[in-house]
């Protein structure tokens, strides 16, 4: 009886040891800011091209970039540009070059609770708040794997550290949810998620479509795709589609700004 079970298990195992799916597969990982966008891209593309399977994961821009360096992913989504050191790491570890593609524009919005009377902050005031955590503000931010975290750090805090009291949350939606529940809360994240909170003006400029495009909104950023020079033709086609008018329509739908 036991022998039979072992044989059965071995048969199962060897049958399962296939190793590869039948259809070509693209694995995408990275920015939580971009994960819905990435999924919608994938959904729409797979509708038009049923012969391919695309898998999207979040985890933060840092996770995606690390995966690209480690070689465990085909495409990394990032809400911040890759650092030179990271590009060098890819070259050193995998012997290939990094290919950067911009796919959308995003406004880094600052959210406060709807009951909060504050409607405008200068960049300097914002930086002070996040560096010193003055009462009564309760600070919400992202985990250090997030591209949003890094972008905010670099462009608003000018490289300084976040105050240790900043609560690290795993996604923009979590930040917004926290701010919506906390009348003293303040948080930051991609504009597409804003719901139940107010996105304040920065330096007097509201984060509207027009202001983001003409550059008057001071904290706007590009959203990136990162692949390597040895990307498969299927992947290259996918990236091209995302920057085409069809793909950019998806960008608009999700709430970001087309290029």
């Amino acid at each position: 009886m036991k022998v039979g079970r072992v044989v059965f298990a071995l048969a199962l195992l060897s049958a399962a040891c296939g190793g590869r799916e039948a259809k070509p597969r693209i694995t995408i990982k990275g920015s939580d800011t971009m994960v819905i966008l990435g999924q919608r891209f994938a959904e729409e593309y797979m509708k038009r091209n049923p012969g391919i399977v695309i898998q999207v994961n979040g985890g933060g821009s840092g996770t995606g970039i690390a995966a690209l360096i480690n070689g465990t992913v085909d495409l990394a989504q990032a809400s911040r540009p890759m650092k030179e050191k990271e590009k060098a790491d890819v070259k050193a570890k995998r012997g290939v070059d990094v290919h950067e593609t911009r796919v959308a524009l995003d406004a880094l919005a600052v959210f406060v609770n709807e009951q909060n009377p504050v409607t405008n902050l200068t960049v300097e005031q914002l930086a002070e708040i996040y560096k010193t955590a003055p009462a009564p503000w309760v600070l919400y931010g992202r985990d250090n794997s997030s591209g949003t975290y890094e972008y905010f750090k670099e462009h608003v805090l000018r490289g300084a550290d976040f105050n240790a009291r900043t609560q690290a949350l795993a996604g923009t939606a979590a930040v917004i949810s926290a701010v919506a529940k906390d009348k003293n809360g303040i948080g930051y994240g991609g504009i597409a998620y804003a719901q139940g909170v107010r996105a304040i003006a920065i330096n007097g400029v509201e984060p509207t479509d027009a202001n983001v495009r003409n550059g008057t909104y001071p904290i706007r950023r590009y959203l990136y795709f990162y692949s390597v020079s040895t990307a498969s033709p299927e992947l290259q086609q996918y990236i091209q589609w995302c920057t085409s008018p069809e793909g950019q329509a998806v960008v608009k739908n999700v709430g970001y700004f087309p290029l």
Binding site: A66, D89, D143, A164, A168, K181, N184
Partner: protein
């Protein structure tokens, strides 16, 4: 025919003996491989950074900083260790008295029918996955606590600690109850015969006699609390501050590993630091669990009269 059976018997003895080695092999492997990936930071300079180095800052809170992703990475474990201890403290504060009280009630005062009801209740509680407890604490408990106590921060040590305590209750209850039930009947009978009330017997005779078990349950709960990940990750607030105030958010060693391991490049100092945390967790729980097991072992020997 006889020789064939003999050979098979010897073969199976080898097989089973090999299986017996597996547990030892894997425990050793776990320690080895966790420590191996932490080796690059096992040197005086890095260890100093983890455990000793303080920032030349004014506020107490900012003296020890964990901010590995930065132009100047700061990798102090202190806020994380403190966070782990805070959560464990609150958890045990909740679970130990209630667990022992419930065990005492169940063992000494509950009618047998009630005892048979309490056991499955505890088992059901023990069966709730920690991710569900974390979910509950994040969505429901935090809101209740905040409206009841007016905390500034919704996710804080009280919230995470309470949820952790719920997870620890079954551990404390089960082992304490076993210990209480193992106290010989003669103890109780002698005490009652001498005129003590039932409660006095339970509180002053039986409970002290079961102290080793109760102590062991605390130690094992401690080990479980130190290593718990999901609850702390979801309900603790994830702010790596060096603060003793329980209304502040916290970040534990385990939650840091869970949150950051996905984004490190294999071989980075950050990667090694996370494995160092894992090694630390392993060592702490190893020591605490071994202590608990040793106490239980002595207690069993005493009960069987071979101590």
């Amino acid at each position: 025919m006889n020789r064939g059976r003999h050979i098979r018997d010897n073969l199976m003895t080898v097989v089973f003996t090999a299986a017996g080695w597996i547990a030892i092999v894997f425990i050793a492997l776990i320690f080895l491989f966790t420590f191996k990936e932490a080796l690059p930071v096992f040197n005086a300079k890095d260890l100093h950074e983890f455990f000793v180095k303080a920032q030349p800052e004014e506020t107490m809170e900012m003296r020890y900083i964990w901010q590995p992703v930065s132009d100047e990475p700061k990798m102090s474990f202190i806020p994380l260790i403190l966070g782990t201890l805070k959560a464990t403290f609150v958890g045990m504060l909740f679970a130990c008295p209630i667990g022992v009280a419930a065990a005492l009630f169940s063992s000494e005062f509950a009618p047998p029918k009630l005892r048979e009801f309490i056991k499955p209740v505890i088992e059901l509680l023990a069966g709730i996955p920690s991710v569900v407890l974390g979910f509950f604490a994040l969505l429901v408990l935090a809101t209740w606590l905040q409206s009841a106590f007016g905390f500034t921060y919704r996710l804080n040590a009280w919230n995470a600690g309470l949820a952790l305590g719920i997870a620890l209750l079954p551990v404390v209850f089960t082992i304490s109850e076993d210990g209480l039930a193992s106290v010989p009947r003669t103890y109780r009978e002698a005490s009652l015969a001498l005129g003590a009330s039932r409660f006095a017997t339970a509180w002053k005779v039986v409970l002290p006699a079961a102290m080793p078990a109760v102590f062991a349950s605390f130690v094992l709960a401690f080990g479980r609390a130190i290593g718990e990940t999901m609850i702390l990750l979801m309900a603790g607030g994830n702010a790596a501050i060096t603060s003793f105030h329980l209304g502040d958010p916290l970040r534990t060693l385990s939650a840091t590993i869970a949150a950051e391991l996905g984004e490190v490049v294999f071989g980075d100092p950050h990667y090694s630091a996370l494995f160092m945390m894992g090694t630390l967790l392993f060592v702490i729980t190893f020591v605490s669990n071994s202590t608990g097991q040793w106490v239980i072992g002595r207690m069993q020997k005493r009960m069987q009269g071979t101590a």
